[in-house]
């Protein structure tokens, strides 16, 4: 946890999205640490059109031992899902061919037992968050509010939560 010498700005660090993350960090870290080294690596499908951000996440996730596939369009995401099934999907909302929310609708229709989807977006509007969660996203995160490190550490938790709750979680 980084502490700033200037406390003013912290007041406005929003808690609208990403709240559960911090609280579950420790548990997730424990989960990750306990992962047997011999087990198959967790497969992550990252749908992200910004190459810089995609690369940054790949560096972190590779480092943490995940097997990462990056696609940069909604169409590419569907193809990737048809080819092989990942353990978790990280989805950007601003894609060149269609919106991430549309991709989610497609995924919900085409793959009834799809893995958990975590939305990573630049937009933090409450309406967007509500819509993303109502489409069954396991979490909605605003990119600038999280780090690849914290996302990486939360992945096992999301997978775990998904397998407990079932894939058709709708709230």
């Amino acid at each position: 946890m980084i502490q700033t010498s200037w406390p003013f700005g912290r007041a406005w660090l929003p808690d609208v999205a990403g709240t559960p993350l911090e609280s579950s960090l420790e548990r997730d870290a424990v989960l990750a640490a306990n992962r047997p080294a011999s087990a198959k690596p967790i497969r992550v499908l990252l749908i992200e059109d910004d190459a810089t951000i995609a690369e940054m996440y790949r560096v972190q996730l590779d480092y943490d031992g995940y097997q990462v596939t990056v696609v940069n369009t909604g169409e590419g995401a569907i193809h990737a899902l048809e080819a092989s099934r990942p353990d978790i999907i990280l989805l950007d909302l601003l894609l060149p061919d269609r919106s991430g929310l549309e991709v989610m609708v497609d995924i919900n229709q085409a793959f009834s037992d799809h893995p958990p989807v975590v939305i990573l977006s630049n937009y933090g509007e409450p309406t967007m968050i509500e819509r993303g969660l109502s489409l069954g996203a396991a979490e909605y995160l605003v990119k600038s509010r999280v780090t690849p490190d914290s996302v990486s550490r939360s992945i096992p938790g999301w997978i775990d939560q998904n397998s407990n709750a079932g894939p058709s979680r709708n709230d």
Binding site: G9, T127, S144
Partner: protein, 610 residues
């Protein structure tokens, strides 16, 4: 020795002759078709009156009687044509009227010159003549009366006078013919003659009302006008709407036929009852003059007054119609006074529109900038944390020192962007408040807990709160944000250190959190700008404090969205107390008195709560 009746009759006759002459003079001055028709109508009626006078003096004469018949029918016929000048009659009706005139005149002439006078026949023929006259007059009389309703006051009064005058004439003539012997006696005759005499001024004012009468007619409207000017100045629709409204009033005020408004660039902004080409011709006709009377459309006069605007001079103009020929000094003064109000109104809408545009652009910029800034910041923050976490390789000692500073600054920037987004959301009305019952003491406690980890050695936070819950119906998350911001500010603006005291109270259904510091304070003159967007007190002692100036603005807006308010008490150099007021949740737990207070003090940032 002439009787009273005879004198009155002579006076009435002279009056009607005068009317005819006056109307011809008017026509000579203003060559309009309607004026011509009215001139002919009243002129012919003057001939009837003159013949009556002549025959009274020199005895009846057949040719004169014939002329009287023809002139009489003609006067009615021209009233119909006068009406036709405003609202064209259907061709068959016009043809029928012409036929009726010709046949009536023919029969009248034959009767007057060939047939003997006297007896029932004469009465019958006279009745037929008056009825024919009534056939010409009846429709215009009714039409003008009805049409007067939606006209400007002056025009309306004139149309009513016209209707009344001619209806009166028709009634007198019918009574005189039908009444017969019953009306021959002295009293009714005098009465009828008096009425006839009274009709002369009524008809006269219908086409040439003196200015005093115009002023009286307009009085009611001027009160309305005052209200309208107020509306123009207070309410600020766009310039277009204002221009339309303005000419509507100018038109009404001057009883004009048409009105128009031209802006400083010479563009015709609004017109009423006149086409643009005609306005253009009037503008060309006026040359370099800014005020005065100029040739209007179809021989009518146009009256123009200047609109003095920042960009230059525009014009408001009205054009006299066939029935509103009178523009005098009174009218142009009125129009000029009105024009200055309109100009003020236009200036105001212009400024308002510009401010609105700037505000909109500001909001858009805020929204766009903040969202666009998030992208790059994501990457900087991500790699920064990797760098600090050692994922990108080991840092040397200097690097290990620099990384946390860099990350701290990145978080600052992130917080600023979040503030901007929140402000933009607030202005778009996209900010949702989710109220639920919460204990204000808990909220303040968690706000303190949020600040406490980053507090330096110089400051300490003191919480003073009642021993029982202070229930409020609020969006707890956002109230916490407001309080945290107030505490942050208190710490920030007391650079020398000291206590920041948070006092929670409940009194009279209002829950309050006061955050009191012993810092640099705020000068009285600077207090009003504190809560404005980007409103930071900026002077040599505060310039080194970072911030967007959005915090208090957002705080107050968020408080207000929840039925609350933020107030401040401060003096330069003497610390500040910011108080957040929130409506207490029902049922109020307050008894009008602050409960027992418990106080806990934790030096060095540690806060213990009882």
């Amino acid at each position: 020795m002439p009787t009273a009746s005879q004198i009155i009759q002579v006076l009435a006759s002279i009056g009607f002759i005068g009317l005819g002459v006056a109307m011809f003079v008017q026509w000579w001055r203003r060559r309009g078709r309607a004026e011509a028709m009215l001139a002919w109508s009243l002129g012919l009626f003057a001939v009837v009156a003159a013949n009556g006078l002549i025959q009274r003096v020199w005895g009846t004469s057949r040719p004169l009687t014939a002329i009287t018949f023809v002139a009489f029918l003609g006067s009615g016929y021209f009233v119909l044509l006068f009406r036709d000048a405003f609202l064209p009659l259907k061709p068959p009706i016009r043809r029928a009227a012409t036929v009726l005139l010709v046949v009536g005149c023919g029969l009248g002439v034959v009767f007057a010159t060939v047939l003997s006078t006297g007896g029932a026949l004469r009465a019958g023929v006279t009745l037929a003549l008056v009825l024919t006259w009534g056939a010409f007059m009846g429709e215009p009389i009714a039409r003008f009366w009805m049409a007067s309703r939606n006209q400007p006051a002056v025009q309306s009064s004139r149309m009513k006078a016209f209707s009344l005058g001619f209806a009166g004439l028709l009634t007198i003539l019918l009574l005189a013919v039908i009444g017969g012997a019953a009306l021959r006696s002295q009293v009714p005759t005098v009465l009828l003659d008096l009425v006839a005499l009274a009709l002369v001024p009524i008809i006269y004012v219908s086409f040439a009302p003196p200015s005093i009468l115009r002023r009286i007619w307009r009085m009611g409207e001027e009160n309305e006008l005052r209200a309208a000017i107020q509306d123009l100045l207070i309410f600020t629709p766009g310039p277009q709407a204002l221009a339309e409204q303005a000419i509507g009033w100018a038109w009404r005020l001057t009883g004009a036929q048409a009105a128009f408004l031209v802006d400083a660039g010479g563009n015709i902004v609004a017109t009423r009852n006149i086409d643009r080409a005609a306005v253009q011709r009037i503008l060309e006709g006026k040359g370099a003059e800014v005020r005065g009377f100029f040739p209007g459309t179809e021989g009518a006069t146009a009256m123009i007054a200047p609109l003095r605007l920042t960009e230059g001079t525009g014009y408001i103009g009205v054009v006299a119609g066939s029935f509103t020929p009178l523009f005098g000094n009174d009218e142009i003064n009125l129009l000029e006074g009105y024009a200055s109000s309109v100009a003020a109104g236009l200036e105001r809408t212009r400024v308002t529109e510009r401010i609105a545009t700037i505000e909109k652009h500001k909001s858009q910029f805020l929204n766009l900038a903040s969202h666009e800034l998030r992208g790059p910041l994501t990457v900087i923050r991500g790699y920064g944390s990797m760098l600090q976490g050692g994922l990108l390789g080991d840092l040397n000692e200097r690097g290990r020192k620099a990384a946390p500073v860099m990350m701290a600054k990145i978080l600052e920037m992130n917080a600023l962007i979040e503030q901007m987004i929140e402000a933009a959301r607030l202005e778009d009305g996209a900010l949702l408040i989710k109220p639920e019952e919460a204990d204000l003491c808990d909220i303040v406690t968690s706000a303190i807990a949020k600040v406490e980890p980053v507090l330096d050695e110089k400051h300490r936070i003191v919480l003073v709160s009642p021993n029982r819950p202070v229930l409020v119906m609020v969006d707890a998350q956002r109230v916490q944000t407001i309080v945290t911001n107030l505490i942050d500010n208190a710490v920030k603006y007391s650079p020398e250190g000291g206590d920041v005291t948070c006092i929670v109270t409940l009194r009279g259904g209002v829950a309050r959190v006061s955050v009191k510091d012993t810092g640099i304070g705020i000068a009285k003159d600077d207090l009003p700008i504190l809560f404005t967007r980007f409103g930071r007190v900026s002077n040599t002692s505060t310039n080194h404090f970072p911030g967007t100036g959005l915090g208090l603005y957002l705080g107050r807006q968020l408080a207000r969205l929840q039925g609350g308010e933020i107030t401040v008490e401060s003096a330069a150099g003497d610390g500040s107390t910011f108080t957040l007021h929130l409506p207490a949740a029902e049922p109020s737990t307050g008894t009008g008195k602050v409960g027992e207070l418990s106080q806990s003090v934790a030096p060095g940032g540690g806060v213990q709560l009882s």
